[in-house]
């Protein structure tokens, strides 16, 4: 396994360099680079089909990039099996609430800790996630398939947490949830980051929520990064306001500005 020196920000926990990922002949990711510094929340925004899920799948090893590298804690991990990547410390929370429907909530959570052998600490962490998600404690012995959508979303986040990951990949945790629940989930994501020190890569369509939660953001369009900045500044950006926050503008220029500014990479 080749070790590469991080080449940009100080100590990026994860750095993705020029990855290209295909579905058969279809090129879904067209040379994306991004960094996730330790201890921070980084978000990737993009419309349907932009390639957000594909980026996460490439990082977690479900898909292999044709070109480019994924470096985690100094080691290249692209092309590895997803279970190997998970045991290495990256927890992928996929879109669409992928619970184990016939296992109980508790068994689901314990499966999150499958790769760990420190039993006492796993028991403590179970209490810890019950603290963040009290509803899961109430439903501990119920089959996960019978939870509501929002509860399942909490379960998959909690389950990923049980692995004690150093990096969490969150794929659209707000999808299909009520505004109140979205707020609650993002609040917990923030607390997990602050209190547990979990670094997060958060993929979202809910730009407003994501930009308020994260520190740094990338904007993805058709498989390319077209913009990246501190979230505070992205929130102020006219492009973001217009195309992701739905703020009506006097539409002097109907075209997407970043295209004309040639920020293509």
């Amino acid at each position: 396994m080749a070790e590469t020196l991080p080449d940009s920000l100080p100590d990026p926990l994860l750095s993705v360099r020029n990855i290209e990922t295909y579905y058969g002949p279809i090129m879904a990711i067209r040379g994306v680079s991004l960094d996730v510094p330790k201890g921070r929340i980084v978000t990737v925004l993009g419309a349907n089909g932009a390639g957000k899920t594909t980026i996460l799948k490439t990082i977690s090893g479900v898909m292999d990039p044709q070109k480019g590298s994924v470096t985690f804690e100094g080691a290249e991990i692209q092309g590895r099996d997803p279970d190997w990547v998970a045991r290495r410390g990256i927890a992928h929370v996929p879109e669409g609430r992928e619970v184990f429907p016939f296992l109980t909530v508790r068994e689901n959570l314990l499966m999150g800790a499958f790769a760990r052998s420190d039993r006492a600490a796993v028991a403590e962490d179970l209490d810890m996630v019950y603290g963040y998600f009290p509803i899961l404690k109430e439903r501990a012995e119920q089959q996960a398939g019978y939870l509501s959508g929002g509860q399942q979303q909490m379960l998959v986040i909690a389950r990923a947490l049980m692995a004690r990951p150093r990096l969490m990949l969150l794929d659209e945790p707000s999808l299909g949830l009520s505004p109140l629940l979205v707020k609650e989930i993002f609040g917990i994501v923030r607390r997990l980051n602050e209190e547990q020190g979990v670094t997060m890569l958060l993929v979202e369509q809910n730009a407003n929520m994501a930009l308020q939660t994260a520190n740094y953001g990338y904007v993805l369009e058709l498989g390319r990064i077209v913009m990246d900045d501190e979230c505070g500044r992205l929130l102020e950006s006219d492009d973001i306001k217009e195309f992701y926050l739905g703020v009506k503008k006097d539409a002097v220029r109907g075209k997407k500005r970043w295209r004309r500014k040639k920020t293509w990479r």
Binding site: A86, E98, F100, P101, L103, E107, L110, M111, F114, R159
Partner: protein, 299 residues
């Protein structure tokens, strides 16, 4: 009291079907593949036990244990070396492959052990328990049949505990219910699936070893039994472990009842296919089988 005798024979036969059906369903749940070589794996297990016990002279229990272990390992390797590599191919490719593999096993067994019936001694083989004796005759129970029933109860209990209470057992359930999510948990899914193949093969071997003293002799075609076991799995819903065993019991009991109580010619012709008749009826009434799980699994 002939009925008791018939029922015990039916339950015992049903347990054998049930165990083989369990083997089908374990693999199906984990991989959505139907392993049509299941019966031939059982056959190989029986010949492994035959070789160890009758030829090499091992005591029965030791020969049986080693035979089960070898067959389990064989199932593991069959997946790791062959089946795993065709993941993602269309279903029918897998089905044809397992059928072909079964043919190969049968012809190899014919070459190695010959086509003539063989047998190995089981300590309780041929023993009977007399439960009722009067002037018209006596009712006896075959100990081999009682051993099948007892063995099945113990094995099913052990499997239940394994899947429910051990970490690797729960991980097997998890991998069967949602393979991708299992990968995300760091579960080595490929290894887990091979383990399931190993367990499935070992269970089939146990079924064969329990069956051996009941049928006295066997040859490389003994694995055709699995076609009836397949019907049992379908009746059970093909995704339900308890359903597989119950499906087996339903077929086993029906076969014996048909054989005992249908008039003359019919008994001989109907009994062997009664399982398929039940399967047809069940499929017409409840296409998903009797114990289908409601939720579709995600792959």
């Amino acid at each position: 009291m002939e009925l008791i005798q018939v029922l015990v024979a039916g339950i015992a036969q049903g347990c054998v079907y049930g165990l083989i059906a369990l083997g089908f369903v374990l693999i199906y749940k984990a991989t959505e593949q139907v392993n049509f070589a299941q019966g031939d794996i059982m056959m190989l297990g029986m010949f492994a036990a035959f070789t160890l016990i009758a030829i090499a002279g091992f005591p029965w229990w030791l020969g049986a244990l080693i035979g089960i272990a070898i067959t389990g390992l064989f199932g593991f390797c069959l997946d790791a070396a062959v089946l795993r590599r065709i993941i993602g191919q269309p279903q029918f490719a897998v089905i044809i492959l397992t059928i072909a593999v079964g043919f190969i096993f049968r012809s190899v067994a014919g070459g190695v052990w010959g086509a003539d019936p063989v047998s190995f001694d089981t300590p309780y083989g041929g023993m009977v328990i007399t439960i009722d004796e009067n002037e018209t005759g006596r009712t006896v129970l075959d100990v081999a049949e009682l051993a099948i029933i007892l063995g099945t109860v113990v094995l099913v209990g052990a499997l239940y505990a394994f899947f429910r209470f051990t970490r690797i057992g729960v991980a097997m359930q998890a991998s069967s219910q949602n393979q991708l999510a299992a990968y995300y948990m760091g579960i080595p899914v490929k290894y887990v699936i091979s383990l399931i193949w190993g367990i499935s093969a070992a269970v089939s071997c146990i079924a064969g070893i329990l069956l051996a003293p009941k049928i006295a002799t066997f040859d490389p075609d003994v694995g055709f039994l699995a076609i009836t076991a397949f019907a049992a799995a379908v009746i059970g819903g093909f995704g339900s472990l308890p359903g597989a065993v119950l499906g087996g019991l339903i077929i086993g009991i029906t076969e014996q009842l048909a054989q005992a109580y249908l008039p003359g010619e019919y008994a001989r012709s109907i009994a062997p296919v009664s399982g398929f008749i039940i399967m047809l009826v069940v499929l017409l009434i409840r296409p998903d089988g009797l114990f289908a799980q409601i939720q579709r699994k995600k792959v």
